[in-house]
C-alpha cells in the first residue's frame, strides 16, 4: 500500500508560489488561510534556497498526540486528516506541529480561532469522498479521483513531489546522483524519521 509523502527538492524550488495558488484554486481556500506556503532561507544572499511547506502528514504526527478532542485520524495511505466537526479550535496542534501547518480562520478575543484548517494531501475529510459536505469543509478529494495533490502536479520545476514515499524518494535519489548534489529531502527526518537521497 502506498504511503503518501511530500518531498521538496530545494535545489529546484524557485519560490514561484505555483503550489500556493494551485492549492487556493483547487480548494477555494479563503484569504488568510495558507495550507501551503513557500519559505526562503538566506533571502538575497548566496546560498538562497526556498522550501515549499505544508502539512507533511507525519508518521508519528504530534498534532494527533496533543489534540484534546482526538479530531485527527490517519488514512490507510498515511495521510493525516481531521474532522472539523470535532475540532474546537484550541490551537494545541499549531504549537505541536514542527512545520507550522495548522491554520485558523479567525483570531478573536479569548483566543477564539475557529475550526482548524490544513493541507489534506488533496484527500478531503471524514465525509463521503467527493460529497458536497466534504467539498465545503475540506476542499476537493483528488486522491479519490485517482489524482495527486495539485500543488505538486503544477509545480513549475517539479521541485515539489507528492505520492508514494518510496517512489518520490527514488526520483529524488536519481536526481541527486545525476547532478551530484542535493541538500536532502527537507523535513523528512522530522516528519518521517528517515532521509531520502543523501
Amino acid at each position: 500500500m502506498a504511503r503518501m509523502k511530500f518531498l521538496l527538492d530545494a535545489e529546484r524550488c524557485i519560490e514561484c508560489n505555483a503550489c500556493v495558488t494551485a492549492c487556493k484554486n483547487e480548494h477555494e481556500v479563503p484569504w488568510g488561510i495558507n495550507r501551503r506556503r513557500v519559505v526562503t532561507l538566506n533571502d538575497g544572499k548566496p546560498g538562497e534556497r526556498s522550501i515549499s511547506m505544508a502539512c507533511m502528514h507525519c508518521t508519528d504526527a504530534p498534532c494527533m498526540a496533543v489534540c484534546p478532542v482526538d479530531c485527527f485520524y490517519k488514512t490507510a495511505e498515511g495521510v493525516v486528516l481531521h474532522s472539523k466537526d470535532l475540532c474546537i479550535g484550541c490551537g494545541y496542534c499549531f504549537y505541536a506541529c514542527p512545520f507550522g501547518a495548522p491554520q485558523y480562520p479567525q483570531a478573536g478575543n479569548f483566543g477564539t480561532r475557529g475550526k482548524m484548517d490544513k493541507c489534506t494531501f488533496c484527500s478531503g475529510g471524514p465525509e463521503a469522498d467527493n460529497s458536497e459536505a466534504e467539498l465545503v469543509k475540506y476542499g476537493r478529494n483528488r486522491l479519490a479521483e485517482g489524482k495527486l495533490p495539485l500543488c505538486a502536479e503544477m509545480c513549475s520545476t517539479k521541485a515539489l513531489l507528492a505520492g508514494d514515499g518510496d517512489i518520490v524518494a527514488g526520483i529524488y535519489r536519481e536526481r541527486v546522483v545525476t547532478r551530484g548534489y542535493g541538500s536532502g529531502a527537507w523535513g523528512w527526518a522530522t516528519a518521517y524519521k528517515e532521509s531520502a537521497g543523501t
Binding site: 538575497g44 526556498s50 469522498d129 467527493n130 495539485l150 527514488g170
Partner: protein
C-alpha cells in the same frame, strides 16, 4: 467554497494516456505520478476510516459520477508570460469550475507558476470591469454598448475631421490573439494612421530591431525546450525564475543532466541567480562592456570559431578592434566586475559549446538597448553557437503574445509581418485585404503620413504635450486609446498624467479599468469598455519560441464584456469602413469568425512564414499535444501530426497544404529547409564596400546552390531554370502581381507562394543566404560601444563614454546630451532600477485584482542594501520616500533591506499602481473594479531616456535619493 464539486474522475483515462505519451522508457516523475496516482485513488476509495466517531465513508453517499457528459475539458493558453503554458479548464454548465495540469503539453508538462495556477480567477472576475462606463461630472456612469460606441465614435470622428486621423493614438496589446493583433493593425490602417503600437515597444523592441538587423529575424532563435540541449547557459539581464518560471523546468534540466554551467549576469542577485553556478554582479547599464570584457579574453586566447566567422559573419574584425580597447582594468572600472571573473566566464563558455545566450528586459530597456542586444548576438557569432541546437540566442519575450503581436505589425513602423510602410508593402496588403490601394491612401491625411513611422507608444504623452511645431504630423494627439495596455508601465508618470488631463478623450478597452481611471484628475471624458480575456475567446497566440498555439474559448465573455474582434467590428461599423475591412470574414451577427481572420493573415504573411499555420493545423496540434517530444518539439511517427514541429514555429513556409513542419531552430544548416533548416537571411545586400555580404561555402543541407545567394525573385527562378517547376496558376498569379515587370516580383510578395515552394524544393531558403552582421552600419553605433546612462552617478565616466547627441525619431525630438550634461548625482546619489515579481505581471491591474495572487504581495517596496539602509537610517519594512530626478517626484513605499541589491543600487517592482506620490487613489476607480492591492507605480519616478533606434524607454537605470518617511 463557491462552486459545486463535479467529478473529474472520468478523466483518469485521458490523464493516463497523456502521461504515457510524454514519458520515455525510464521511470521518471510523470510516470510515477501516473502510476502512484492511480494506485492511490484505488486505495483511497477502499480505505476504511479508523476512528469510530468520524462519519464512515459510504459508497451510497458518494457524489454521483455521472457528470461525464456535462463536464468539458477545454484547453487554452496561459495569458501571462511568453512561455506558452497550456491551461486545462474543467467546465460545467458554462462555468469554469476547476483547473487541471496539462501533462501532455510539450512546453509546460503540467507545470505552472503562481499566475498560471491562479488563472481561473480571471474569469471569476470579481474585480473585472463589468459594463461600459464613462466618467461624467466626476462620477462613473453605466452605459449600454450602443450608447458607448455611439458617443465614443462621434467624438473620435470629430477629432479625425478637425485634426486628422493621426491625432488619435491606438495603443493595442501583447495580450491580443494573433488574429486580434493583426485585425487591430488593419483597423488603424483603415482609420488612417500609423499611430498604433503595443507593449513590444517597451519590452523587446530593441531586440527585434537589433537582432533582425544582425541576422534577419528578430526573435528567439531556438526554444525553451531546446535549452535542454545546452552545454552551458549564459543569462544576462533576465530573471526567469520570476518572469518566466516554467522556463526553469527546461533550464534546470540542462543544469542537472548536462552538468551545464549556469552563468547569470545581473545587477541584482535574483532568484534565478540563486540557482546559478556563477553569478556576475554588474553595474546597471554596462552590458556592452561586460560582453566586450568577455570577448577580450576569447580573442586573446583564440577561442573564437574562425571557420564560422569566415563563412557566415560580416564585420567581426571591426568588433575585434573595438574589443581590444576593453582591457580587464577598463572593464572593471566600468562594470565593477573583476577581470579575473570575466576571464573565468570566457573560459567556461569556450569549453562548453554550444552554450545558449539568454536575455530579457534587463538588456533591452536601455537607451543603448539595441546596441546591448547586438553585443549579445556578437558573442554568439564569435563563438559559432548561433544556428545550433543547444546554442542560439534564446530571447525570452514578455507577454503571452508579444511575439505574435510584434509579428502582426502592431507597431508604428510596419504593416503586419514586417513588410514595412513603403508603397509596395501597402500595395501587397491592399491586395490581401481586397481593397484598392487608392482607397487606403484616401484614408490618410496625405500619402506621406502613410509611409512615415508613427509615434512610438513610449512617447505618446510627448505626442500630446510637445509643441506642435516640433511634431512631424499635422496636429498633436487629441485622443488616447489604451486597448489592453496598462498606463503604469510607461516611464515619466507625471508627464503621462498631464497628457491624460489634456487630451479630449481617453478610451480604455480592457478587462480592468487600469490605472488610467485613477491616475488623472479629469472630471469627464474617460470611457471604459469591458474587453474579455483571451481565455474567453478562440484564437492563436505565439509563444516566445515562435510556436503558434490555438486557444479554445473556455467560457463566454463574462458580464457584458466582448472580445476584441467584435469591439473592432462595432467601431469600424460606426466609422463607416466595416464593409471594406471585413470583406473576407464570415460574420455571425456582430461577431467575426476568427478562423477567417487567421486565413487572411496566413495569406499575406509570407515574409516570416506565418502562412502555413492554418486554423485546422493549429487545432490539430492542440488536440495532439501528447505526440510531440518535449526536447525536440518534433511529433512522433505514426501520429496525426507526424513530421510537424510543435506549433509550427515560424517560418512555416508556403501554404498550409505545402505541409512545412515549422522551424524549431533558426539558421540551422544541418537540416534541409524543408525540414526546418535555414541559413542567415540575405537582408542587407550582396556586398558592402567591396566586401561580400553573402555566405561563403555555407548552406543548408541539401541546397542546390552551395554558396551564398540573394533572395529569390521570379527573374532569379528564370535564370536558374527553376521557373518550370511553377504551376500555371502560380505563374499566372506572379505575373498578375508583377504587372509590367514580373521578373522583379520577390518571394515575399508572391501570394501564390510558388517562388517559396520552388526555392525550398531545390533546398534553398527563399530569403537568400547571407552573412550575419557584427557591424550594423545603419545603426548609430555600427559596433556597440559602452555609453553611460543619461542619469548616472558615475560622472567620472561621462567624458570618456558619453551618450549620443540629441536627435529626432518617431515624429519627435529625442534628447541625450542635453540631459546627460546636467549633473544630478549630488542630490540623487543612488542608482535605481526596476523589474518583475512572480506574482504579478506587467502593469498588474489584472494580477493585483486576483485574490489568490494579491494575497502574496500586498505592499509596494524598494530593495535597499543594508549598507545604504544604515546610512539612511531606515529599518526593514519601514516607509521611505524615494525621490526621483525629474518633476519633483516622490514615492512612498516600504523598505526591504537586502543584500540582493549591491551597495548604491536600489530596485523596485513596477507592477503596482493606484497610489500617487503618497496618496491612495482608490476612490478614483469605478466602484467594485478597483484592484485588491494598490501601490505606488515605479514608473512615476523612472526618467527620460530612449533608444535611438526604437525609442525603447529606459526603465533599468535612473537615479534616486531615499529618505525615511
Amino acid at each position: 467554497m463557491l462552486t459545486r464539486k463535479s467529478s473529474a474522475g472520468a478523466r483518469g483515462t485521458s490523464l493516463a494516456q497523456a502521461l504515457a505519451a510524454t514519458t520515455g522508457g525510464a521511470v521518471d516523475r510523470r510516470t510515477f505520478l501516473h502510476r502512484s496516482g492511480l494506485a492511490a485513488g484505488g486505495m483511497a476509495a477502499a480505505s476504511a476510516l479508523p476512528w469510530g466517531f468520524v462519519q464512515e465513508a459510504d459508497a451510497a453517499n458518494r457524489a454521483p459520477l455521472k457528470q461525464a457528459a456535462e463536464v468539458k475539458r477545454i484547453k487554452n493558453i496561459c495569458t501571462h508570460c511568453s512561455v506558452g503554458c497550456t491551461v486545462t479548464a474543467i467546465v460545467q454548465n458554462g462555468v469554469w469550475i476547476r483547473q487541471e495540469p496539462t501533462f501532455e503539453s510539450p512546453i509546460n508538462l503540467g507545470a505552472h507558476c503562481a499566475k498560471g495556477a491562479a488563472i481561473r480567477e480571471i474569469v471569476h472576475g470579481e474585480r473585472r470591469l463589468k459594463y461600459p462606463m464613462k466618467l461624467a461630472n466626476g462620477q462613473w456612469e453605466r452605459m449600454s454598448w450602443d450608447q458607448a460606441i455611439g458617443e465614443i465614435g462621434d467624438k473620435l470622428l470629430k477629432i479625425r475631421e478637425t485634426s486628422g486621423p493621426d491625432s488619435v493614438y491606438w495603443l493595442g496589446s501583447a495580450k491580443f490573439t494573433n488574429e486580434a493583433a493583426y485585425w487591430f493593425r488593419k483597423f488603424a490602417a483603415f482609420w488612417g494612421t500609423n499611430n498604433v503600437d503595443h507593449q513590444a515597444r517597451i519590452c523587446h523592441s530593441t531586440t527585434v530591431a537589433g537582432v533582425a538587423q544582425t541576422w534577419g529575424y528578430g526573435a528567439m532563435t531556438n526554444s525553451y525546450n531546446d535549452i535542454q540541449n545546452s552545454r552551458a547557459m549564459f543569462l544576462i539581464g533576465g530573471n526567469p525564475a520570476e518572469a518566466h518560471p516554467v522556463s526553469l523546468l527546461h533550464m534546470l534540466k540542462s543544469k542537472e543532466q548536462n552538468q551545464a554551467p549556469f552563468i547569470v549576469c545581473d545587477p541584482r542577485f535574483t532568484r534565478t541567480a540563486a540557482h546559478a553556478t556563477e553569478y556576475v554582479r554588474i553595474r546597471p547599464g554596462t552590458d556592452i562592456a561586460v560582453i566586450w570584457g568577455i570577448l577580450h579574453h576569447i580573442f586573446k586566447n583564440g577561442w573564437e570559431d574562425k571557420d564560422f566567422i569566415a563563412k557566415r559573419v560580416y564585420g567581426m574584425d571591426d568588433v575585434r578592434k573595438e574589443v581590444a580597447k576593453y582591457t580587464p582594468e577598463d572593464v572593471e572600472k566600468i562594470t565593477g566586475v573583476p577581470g579575473s571573473q570575466l576571464a573565468r566566464v570566457a573560459k567556461t563558455l569556450a569549453e562548453h559549446r554550444p552554450f545558449t545566450i539568454i536575455w530579457c528586459m534587463g538588456g533591452t530597456q536601455h537607451t543603448v538597448g539595441s546596441a546591448n542586444v547586438r553585443a549579445y548576438c556578437t558573442l554568439g557569432l564569435a563563438m559559432g553557437t548561433i544556428g545550433t541546437s543547444g546554442g542560439g540566442a534564446n530571447i525570452y519575450r514578455g507577454h503571452c503574445n508579444v511575439q505574435g503581436a510584434t509579428d502582426m505589425g502592431l507597431e508604428p513602423i510596419t504593416l503586419p509581418a514586417y513588410y514595412g510602410l513603403i508603397e509596395p508593402a501597402w500595395r501587397h496588403l491592399s491586395r490581401v485585404w481586397g481593397v484598392p490601394y487608392d482607397y487606403m491612401v484616401s484614408r490618410f491625411k496625405e500619402k506621406k503620413f502613410m509611409e512615415a513611422p508613427g509615434i512610438p507608444e513610449s512617447r505618446w504623452h510627448d505626442g500630446v504635450l510637445e509643441a506642435k511645431e516640433n511634431l512631424e504630423q499635422p496636429d498633436n494627439l487629441r485622443a488616447m486609446v489604451f486597448w489592453g495596455h496598462g498606463a503604469n508601465t510607461q516611464t515619466r508618470g507625471p508627464e503621462a498624467k498631464k497628457a491624460m488631463e489634456k487630451v479630449d478623450l481617453l478610451l480604455v478597452v480592457d478587462p480592468h479599468p487600469i490605472q488610467v481611471a485613477a491616475m488623472s484628475d479629469r472630471k469627464d471624458g474617460i470611457y471604459l469598455l469591458p474587453d474579455c480575456s483571451a481565455l474567453e475567446q478562440d484564437g492563436s497566440r505565439t509563444a516566445s519560441n515562435r510556436s503558434l498555439q490555438w486557444g479554445h474559448k473556455i467560457v463566454d465573455p463574462i458580464f457584458e464584456s466582448k472580445n476584441d474582434l467584435e469591439i473592432i467590428y462595432l467601431l469600424a461599423k460606426k466609422f463607416g469602413y466595416a464593409e471594406q475591412m471585413f470583406k473576407n470574414i464570415k460574420m455571425d451577427g456582430t461577431k467575426p469568425l476568427v478562423d477567417d481572420v487567421l486565413r487572411e493573415l496566413n495569406r499575406g504573411s509570407l515574409t516570416i512564414g506565418y502562412s502555413g499555420q492554418s486554423p485546422e493545423r493549429l487545432k490539430l496540434h492542440m488536440e495532439n499535444q501528447q505526440h510531440f517530444d518535449p526536447r525536440t518539439l518534433k511529433a512522433r511517427d505514426g501520429t496525426p501530426v507526424a513530421g510537424d514541429t510543435y506549433g509550427m514555429p515560424w517560418p512555416c513556409w508556403g501554404k498550409p497544404e505545402h505541409k512545412h513542419p515549422g522551424t524549431h531552430v533558426l539558421y540551422d544548416t544541418s537540416k534541409t529547409v524543408a525540414e526546418g533548416g535555414l541559413n542567415f537571411r540575405a537582408l542587407f545586400g550582396n556586398e558592402r564596400n567591396g566586401v561580400n555580404l553573402l555566405a561563403e561555402g555555407s548552406y543548408p543541407k541539401g541546397a542546390e546552390i552551395k554558396d551564398g545567394h540573394p533572395p529569390f525573385t521570379y527573374g532569379m527562378l528564370k535564370r536558374l531554370g527553376w521557373d518550370k517547376d511553377l504551376t500555371d496558376a502560380e505563374r499566372k498569379e506572379i505575373e498578375e502581381i508583377g504587372g509590367a515587370n514580373p521578373d522583379a516580383v520577390p518571394w515575399q510578395l508572391d501570394l501564390s507562394a510558388g517562388i517559396i515552394r520552388v526555392a525550398i524544393k531545390h533546398g534553398c531558403a527563399p530569403f537568400g543566404n547571407g552573412k550575419a552582421r557584427a557591424n550594423v552600419w545603419n545603426f548609430p553605433d555600427p559596433v556597440p560601444i559602452h555609453r553611460e546612462p543619461l542619469y548616472t552617478p558615475r560622472r567620472d565616466l561621462v567624458a570618456q563614454y558619453p551618450t549620443y547627441t540629441d536627435r529626432r525619431g518617431g515624429r519627435l525630438p529625442i534628447l541625450y546630451k542635453t540631459i546627460q550634461d546636467k549633473d544630478f548625482s549630488k542630490d540623487f546619489p543612488m542608482i535605481v532600477s526596476t523589474g518583475r515579481l512572480v506574482e504579478y505581471e506587467g502593469g498588474g491591474d489584472e494580477t493585483r485584482s486576483n485574490k489568490w495572487l494579491a494575497e502574496l504581495q500586498q505592499n509596494m517596496f524598494i530593495e535597499i542594501n543594508p549598507a545604504d539602509a544604515t546610512r539612511i537610517g531606515v529599518k526593514n519594512n519601514q516607509d521611505v520616500w524615494v525621490f526621483g530626478a525629474e518633476n519633483n517626484v516622490k514615492l512612498k513605499v516600504k523598505a526591504l533591506i537586502t543584500e540582493r541589491v549591491g551597495k548604491g543600487v536600489a530596485w523596485m517592482p513596477f507592477h503596482f499602481a493606484g497610489h500617487w506620490m503618497g496618496q491612495d487613489r482608490r476612490f478614483r476607480y469605478p466602484p467594485g473594479a478597483d484592484p485588491i492591492v494598490l501601490g505606488e507605480a515605479a514608473n512615476t519616478l523612472m526618467t527620460y531616456g530612449y533608444d535611438p533606434v526604437t525609442q525603447m524607454q529606459e526603465t533599468k537605470v535612473s537615479i534616486c535619493r531615499i529618505e525615511k518617511a
